[in-house]
């Protein structure tokens, strides 16, 4: 049994993905402890999302509770089904009784309380749809939540608010978080550990502070150099 000793730590080893004969994720091993805040950064096409999906599927196969929030709500919600239906469906998938997931708390921390659950996704704004998806991913306190560019489809103000609400909800609790993004500036403010990907490999892994100050790999250097537009003197 892989999980008998390190019951609380999530571990994968030698995870790899090949598609039509090409390796798009080279063998990767990593460990995630409870409450970890990890950023997975890299340019587009570096294999971040592939690793994210592979991680979620592997952990789930190990029987861990791991959830995934895709980039756009269109990739998470069925436009023909009401929000209430999708919520109940997620509850049932977890083996919860209808209404037993703490919807009220989740909705109020993510600021979507009072929304009409009878409507279908397109009856909600995109920001609210995305926060609904995040709240579904937080249902039943998972071991790890993987967020793949969770804010890139949102306006800056809504995006910032969503990240703040998520941070507050996670607090110093045991839910580990992995933030996948091309934007080091975004990740650096939210995570304590960074993994840099390039061409389907993790090329560097360090604490946020360490990586920002002394990036080693060329991909990390490019990300650090371009992490924000301007430094404000204030």
């Amino acid at each position: 049994m892989r999980q008998s000793l390190l019951n609380d730590t999530l571990t994968v080893s030698g995870l790899s993905v090949a598609r039509s004969g090409r390796t798009i994720l080279h063998p990767t091993s990593l460990e995630i402890s409870p409450g970890d805040r990890i950023g997975l950064v890299g340019s587009s096409g570096s294999g971040k999302s592939t690793l994210g999906h592979a991680l979620v599927d592997d952990f789930r196969a190990q029987g861990k509770r791991v959830t995934h929030v895709p980039q756009s709500p269109d990739e998470a919600l069925d436009p023909l089904r009401s929000m209430a239906f999708q919520w109940r469906e997620a509850e049932q998938a977890l083996g919860l009784q209808p209404g037993s997931a703490d919807q009220k708390t989740l909705f109020s921390t993510l600021n979507i309380e009072g929304s009409d659950l009878r409507r279908r996704p397109w009856g909600w704004s995109r920001g609210m749809q995305q926060r609904f998806v995040i709240s579904m991913a937080l249902m039943g306190t998972p071991d790890l939540i993987v967020l793949d560019e969770p804010t890139s489809a949102l306006d800056p103000v809504v995006a910032a608010a969503t990240m703040d609400l998520l941070d507050r909800h996670l607090g110093s609790g045991n839910i580990a978080m992995m933030l996948i993004t091309h934007d080091l500036g975004l990740a650096a403010r939210r995570v304590s550990r960074l993994m840099v990907m390039e061409d389907g490999r993790i090329v560097e892994c360090a604490s946020t502070k360490e990586l920002l100050q002394r990036p080693q790999a060329s991909a990390s250097k490019a990300l650090v150099a371009h992490r924000s537009w301007v430094e404000l003197p204030c």
Binding site: R60, E89, A93, W122
Partner: protein, 312 residues
């Protein structure tokens, strides 16, 4: 909602008027003398010029195209189809009698088609590209390629002539409907199988399905709650087109199997140049189309309320 309804009524009016006009113009300009044809049908003999002129007068053929057109269209508005130019009897009763035979046959054809195609398509999509899928596609292509008259004759040859299990001609008992319904249904099944199959495969490519799977929802529930509704949309569209096929098919099938009904009625009416009767059948067909289209529109909105939403 009221706006939608008005829009629908307007569209229906345009379609019906157009149909009425085109049928009338076609019949009016068809080669040969309609009065002669009516005389032949009525008395089965060549008649003198005077009698022909009388018939021409009586059938309203003298009044000129527009006058004749409007004198026919006018009463239609209150569903008065007029009298047959040949028998002189009201058109409506014979029309209703024909529907009494045709409607159940068409529905039976649709039912046979659905019963065959739905399981076939679902089984085929269990493993796309697999052996069963290929067989299903082959059957469907074959079914679409075989014309109804040939299939009808084959069925008659085997079930009626060789084995004598089923009656072939007429419509005296419900068993008489089996072979015609089968002929229609096999044709319907061919196109439905292909559409349902590709509808399901298309629905499986919806971008949100991987996420729902990662949420731990069983594939059975995903198929039922997420794939089926998306697959239903193209299938509903095809049902409307299928009806066109059915109406066209019933004409053929009724003639092959010697059954009374709209098809037989239409064929005789055309042969005898019975203007009012031909037009009545065509208008009725158009009316059915318009109604079915409305029904499909409503079903669409039930499945996917985004259709018809101004903001979507």
């Amino acid at each position: 909602m009221i706006k939608d309804l008005l829009g629908f009524m307007l569209r229906a009016a345009v379609v019906l008027t157009g149909t009425a006009f085109i049928t009338f113009a076609l019949l009016w300009n068809a080669p040969g003398d309609p009065a002669q044809a009516i005389a032949m049908a009525r008395y089965d003999a060549l008649l003198t010029e005077e009698v022909i002129a009388l018939i021409r007068e009586e059938a309203g053929l003298n009044a000129g195209f527009w006058a004749a057109f409007f004198s026919w269209v006018g009463p239609l508005v209150v569903l008065d189809f007029g009298r047959s130019a040949v028998s002189g009897q009201e058109v409506l009763p014979s029309l209703l009698a024909a529907i009494f035979y045709t409607f159940p046959l068409a529905m039976a054809g649709l039912a046979v088609g659905t019963i065959i195609s739905l399981p076939l398509a679902i089984l085929a999509t269990k493993k796309p590209g697999g052996l069963f899928d290929r067989i299903a596609i082959a059957i469907a292509s074959l079914g679409a390629a075989i014309p109804a008259y040939w299939l009808g004759l084959l069925l008659i040859l085997f079930f009626a002539v060789q084995t004598g299990w089923l009656p072939a001609m007429g419509a005296r008992t419900p068993t008489h409907a089996i072979l015609p319904a089968l002929t229609l249904g096999l044709g319907v099944a061919a196109s439905l199988t292909r559409i349902i199959r590709s509808g399901i495969l298309e629905a499986r490519r919806q971008p949100f399905l991987p996420a729902i799977k990662r949420r731990g929802v069983s594939s059975k529930a995903i198929g039922r709650d997420h794939v089926a509704p998306h697959a239903a949309i193209p299938v509903v569209t095809l049902f409307g087109l299928e009806l066109a096929f059915l109406l066209e098919g019933t004409v053929m099938v009724e003639v092959i199997f010697g059954r009374p009904g709209l098809g037989t009625l239409l064929v005789t009416a055309i042969e005898t140049r019975d203007f009012p009767l031909v037009q009545a059948v065509v208008i009725l067909t158009a009316l059915v189309f318009v109604t079915v289209n409305l029904a499909i529109d409503i079903v669409y909105r039930l499945i996917d309320p985004r259709i018809g939403e101004p903001d979507a």
